[in-house]
């Protein structure tokens, strides 16, 4: 297989890994807690792509049974990720509630300022 074919066939995976690492970078490098949670949800979304990409079949259709079609894409990853999306928004809401509570107690959501305040007291 030529290099170009490999690159085109795996373009989805490369972008998925890029999104995953961008999310990880936001979580690690950004000190702002809302930004960290946005990064975390980017990481989560990249996992959706990682699951659903291998399920696609070229020439297949959405997995809804109809006499007009015979090739369907794999429905199992779709089911798993449907659950993951809903759980993802639940964890995001819980994390944001914690951020609001931290902001109430410390008056800031910047990580280094919170550490400074902890050291003072």
């Amino acid at each position: 297989m030529s290099v170009l074919e490999t690159v085109l066939g795996h373009y989805d995976y490369v972008i998925t890994m890029f999104l995953m690492m961008a999310g990880l970078y936001i979580v690690v490098a950004s000190g702002n807690m809302v930004k960290k949670l946005i990064g975390l949800s980017i990481f989560q979304t990249s996992v959706y792509l990682l699951y659903i990409e291998p399920g696609k079949i070229t020439g297949g259709t959405a997995p809804i049974v109809d006499p007009a079609f015979s090739v369907y894409s794999n429905p199992l990853p779709h089911v798993l990720i449907l659950t993951a999306i809903v759980v993802g928004v639940a964890t995001l809401a819980l994390g944001l509630a914690l951020v609001a509570r931290i902001n109430e107690a410390y008056g800031t959501i910047e990580e280094d300022e919170i550490f400074d305040r902890d050291r003072e007291s």
Partner: protein, 185 residues
């Protein structure tokens, strides 16, 4: 043509992600993450995951954005501090990313029909769903019928998260009502 649309949408996703990483205004970052979710929903439609795309558009782009904006209203700040470029996280992220891309090279390329994951339980679901459940949409029949217990567990998770949010934010209203403003000076 569909493959071209897929590549274009994925490239747009990467561009929006770079914008989110570089953005200092939290409001702009939240709106960009809404755009990101809609692009993700479009990619999912191209990948034939129509149910997931609908959920992503309503939950990811709708509810998540609303919850994030509500938080911005509560914390009353819209700017994050400028991030000084950090060498160590960048190094770790690039290293891990290179390893992950190397790992995906052994995966079958996009759209392969004789991929091993299409061989095991999936043909049974596709062939028997009408006979056993009467639901033409296979995703629905697996979610609500074959794997109904998983969905029950999912609702338990949402219930627990809801209780957690209520406990964290409900106490706040009580404290401000009794006169002591919990906010630090």
């Amino acid at each position: 043509m569909i493959a071209f649309i897929n590549v274009a949408l994925l490239t747009l996703l990467a561009v929006v992600t770079v914008a989110i990483v570089r953005q200092r205004s939290l409001f702009a970052a939240v709106i960009l993450s809404g755009i990101y979710s809609f692009l993700m929903a479009s990619v999912l439609i191209v990948l034939d995951a129509v149910d997931v795309a609908m959920t992503e558009a309503s939950v990811g782009a709708g509810i998540s954005t609303v919850v994030l904006l509500a938080t911005l209203h509560l914390i009353k700040t819209t700017e994050s501090r400028s991030v000084r470029p950090r060498i160590l996280p960048m190094f770790v992220v690039l290293g891990t990313g290179a390893f992950l891309v190397w790992g995906t090279l052994v995966m079958p390329p996009y759209g392969t029909a004789d991929n091993i994951i299409h061989k095991h339980v999936v043909p049974r679901y596709i062939n028997d769903t009408i006979k056993e459940t009467g639901v033409p949409n296979i995703v629905t029949s697996v979610l609500a019928d074959y794997r109904g217990y998983d969905t029950l567990g999912e609702t338990t998770v949402i219930f627990t998260a809801g209780i957690g949010v209520m406990l964290l934010l409900g106490g706040r209203r009580r404290r401000t009502k009794s006169g002591q403003d919990g906010r630090s000076p």
